[in-house]
Symmetry: C2
Subunit: 136 residues, 2 copies
């Protein structure tokens, strides 16, 4: 019984009554590679932080220098700089130098479309459920 250490919860026996073989074959055929799925999750992870989201929204209005963003969000220049580096490594933002100050800007319109998509989902949730979900 403990010979293969397969997770509990579902019958290990291939010939069990509860059979998902058909569906598994179908889904396995259509599922993208692990690498792509990972990259995709990593992309969305960038949008999954409040600070970065704020930065992106700010840059949608105008290019900004680091200390302006820090001022806007009421956060350390260091914190903003770290986040900007992450966004830049992912090619979501670019920067240009002008004397001492460095201006950051959105490098892509994908950012706008991706964020807009999530925005729509949220708004629909808000209107569907009155104000906020699970309330008496």
């Amino acid at each position: 019984m403990t010979e293969k250490t397969i997770p509990v919860g579902c019958t290990e026996d291939p010939a069990a009554e509860h059979d998902h073989e058909a569906i598994l074959r179908l889904v396995r055929r259509e599922l993208p590679t692990d690498e792509l799925l990972c990259d995709l999750a990593d992309l969305f992870k960038l949008f999954g932080d409040t600070t970065r989201m704020k930065i992106l929204f700010a840059l949608m209005e105008s290019e900004m220098c680091v200390c302006a963003i820090a001022d806007l969000l009421g956060m350390t220049q260091s914190a903003i700089s770290h986040q900007l580096r992450i966004l830049k490594d992912a090619n979501l933002v670019g920067n240009r130098r002008e004397g001492k100050t460095i201006y950051y800007f959105l490098s892509d319109d994908h950012v706008r479309t991706i964020v807009a998509q999530g925005f729509d989902h949220l708004i629909e949730d808000y209107t569907e459920n009155g104000e906020r979900k699970e309330e008496p």
Copy 2:
């Protein structure tokens, strides 16, 4: 100098030469509320995990029971169940009972559009930079 403990990096003096007041006013006016920005980040956070991303892709093909997903991803039933709960709390998936087994499905087409948007961005990155960025 240390009277207000304002982060270093940018001049604290409101009348400093490096002036972002104009831009700050503009951006502050257009920036959504903190609550909305948080909710938006929380939404994207859901897509920011490989396991959840795989589950969502699988459910795009067909509704599936928990143990089928666990089998597909080679993971514990418990792990899958925990993630499904998170997705269900966010109304991204729903479930229905059929005897002992419980089938999960996408509750929304938003999931498809959101994921597709990220997908497009990735694909474009892939083709733009040959195969993968930063290589000799």
